[in-house]
């Protein structure tokens, strides 16, 4: 039941986990001016240099500019967009003021955090 997803504007935000990352510690995202005044209608995750086990222990908290918590400890695995399985569904949102710089992630489990771990958030904009 895969379906096509064609959006006018998709912004991919890359996150590089530093080599000295301590498992379980909060790590705030870099500022993302590209999202300013944009409506986010979908979020997906893609990754390369992180293990599938790492994604399974990756949690994301996203706030808006009023410091309201939109997503609290959201499992990043649920946003996964890279394994091509037919049961994937793009998670839908309707956010207009995401404050990525005050949002954060953490990865539980030291053994699964490798050096220069990279993952990407794809923001579907409207």
């Amino acid at each position: 039941m895969a379906y096509s997803r064609i959006y006018e504007n998709i912004y991919t935000f890359q996150v590089i986990v530093p080599t000295n990352y301590v498992a379980g510690s909060k790590r705030f995202f870099d500022p993302c001016p590209e999202l300013a005044n944009k409506k986010v209608v979908g979020i997906s995750l893609s990754y390369d240099k992180i293990t599938i086990g790492g994604i399974g222990a990756l949690y994301v908290t996203i706030k808006d500019k009023k410091q309201n918590i939109l997503l609290q400890n959201y499992p990043a695995q649920d946003l996964d967009d890279s394994n091509g399985t037919t049961n994937f569904r793009l998670r839908l949102f309707n956010y207009s003021d995401i404050d990525l710089n005050n949002s954060y992630f953490f990865i539980q489990g030291a053994s699964i955090v490798g050096p220069a771990t990279i993952f990407n958030f794809n923001f579907y904009l409207q």
Binding site: M1, G24, G53, G56, A57, Y59, N68, I69, L70, L71, Q72, N73, Y74, P75, Q77, D78, T85, T86, N87, F88, R89, R91, L92, F93, N94, F106, Q108, G109, I112
Partner: protein, 135 residues
């Protein structure tokens, strides 16, 4: 099946402690969810998530199938012994199971272990509540 447009989410972890058949484990008080309208709920297994936010082992897919959840609305057990497997997105074509604006009394709601097959002591059950914040 419809897909919800997500407004807010809160991931609740319920640690089962020492497991036993017919053991009930109540949810903790979550102030963020008090009085909110919950319109979608999903669960996860150890196949989806390797470690919980607290670093606990997540119940396996078989372990999830061995548990049910009862959600209390007011004082009534309106959703009674719902299989947790039925809330797992991977089991329902990737969808998030939707409900009609439930105001759940979380501390009276509980998870029941129907059989200990696939479960271990101190496994965690993770349930993601998708809700509409209080205005």
């Amino acid at each position: 099946m419809l897909q919800p447009v997500i407004e807010s989410t809160y991931l609740v972890e319920v640690n089962l402690g020492t497991i036993g058949v017919q053991k009930r484990t109540n949810f903790q008080f979550v102030p963020q969810l008090e009085g909110t309208e919950i319109y979608a709920i999903q669960s996860f297994s150890g196949t989806d998530l390797t470690l919980s936010p607290n670093g606990s082992t997540v119940a396996t897919t078989a372990g999830l199938a061995a548990c049910t959840v009862t959600f209390v609305i007011g004082d009534d057990e309106k959703i009674y012994t719902l299989p947790l497997s039925d809330l797992r997105s991977a089991n329902i074509y990737g969808f998030q199971r939707m409900f009609k604006n439930l105001k759940i009394n979380l501390t009276k709601s509980y998870i029941t272990i129907q059989t200990t097959t696939g479960l271990s002591n101190n496994d965690s059950i993770l349930i993601n509540f998708i809700y509409r914040p209080r205005k």
